[in-house]
Amino acid sequence: MKYQNQYIYSSCRMISRVMVMLALIFGYQLSAHAQTWQQLNDQQRTVLAPLEEDWTSLTKARQKKWVEVANRYPQMSDAEKSTLQSRMTEWAKLSTTERQVARDNYLRTIKISPEKKAAAWESYQQLSDEDKKRLAEKKASTTKPTTVTSPTLK
């Protein structure tokens, strides 16, 4: 009986230690990478200015992703910089599914030349809504899940 108690006691002690460890880890994970707007550096704040209002409502993963985007900003050309900033708000306001679809589609068409893409976009915009809808339905019927669809960023 005494030995049984000792077994139970040592098991409980072990479980409680593991629980404390897990609690510390999850606590760290929740607090880690949470960057307030003030914690960003000047350059990051300037780049991410269009997102300032919504910054606190973004998930930690999305904040981290935007910080990464801001870190890439200095290597961009002037034209790319202005394009990026003009599209940021629009992009951030898309739903998770829409962003996943866009990423998926971008990677599907990554080998197509920019000229062809631009020409196709021009022509596509001239199409009737009915034709656009018909094309979208065809795309949906041939869509296969890819690794691009991100479960991480919501």
Binding site: N5, V18, Y106, I112, S150
Partner: protein, 140 residues
Amino acid sequence: MAMLARDLLDDSSENLPTHISERLAAARKSALAAHAAEKKPVWHKELALPGFGNLHSIGSDWRNRAWGTLGAAPIFALVLGIFLISNWQQDERILDIAKVDSAILVDVVPPEAYKDNGYVRFLMTNGKDLVVEEDEEEKI
């Protein structure tokens, strides 16, 4: 048969010669002593726990505690390893997505285009879908 064998063995064990009984008793004693010695290190730390009273010397208390902490080390290492690996994987994924997102945001066509499955179909098929359907309609 079995019952008969059991009865015969019981009878003969009660009437063993003295020297055999003594040898058996000595063997039992040494076996029990060896068993206790084997168990000792395992119970040693357990018996020293607060709440159960320290049945061993008080001087070895720090050793018991150290042993208890070391015993949990592999589990801590495993949990920590899993945590670090999952964290690293998530960071890598975020980096990949940041790369794709920055590329989409500076691309020749707006994100609105990539969001539109119709455009991507139109681009990938060079608009052939629509042409074929129009031809089919004409044939009918």
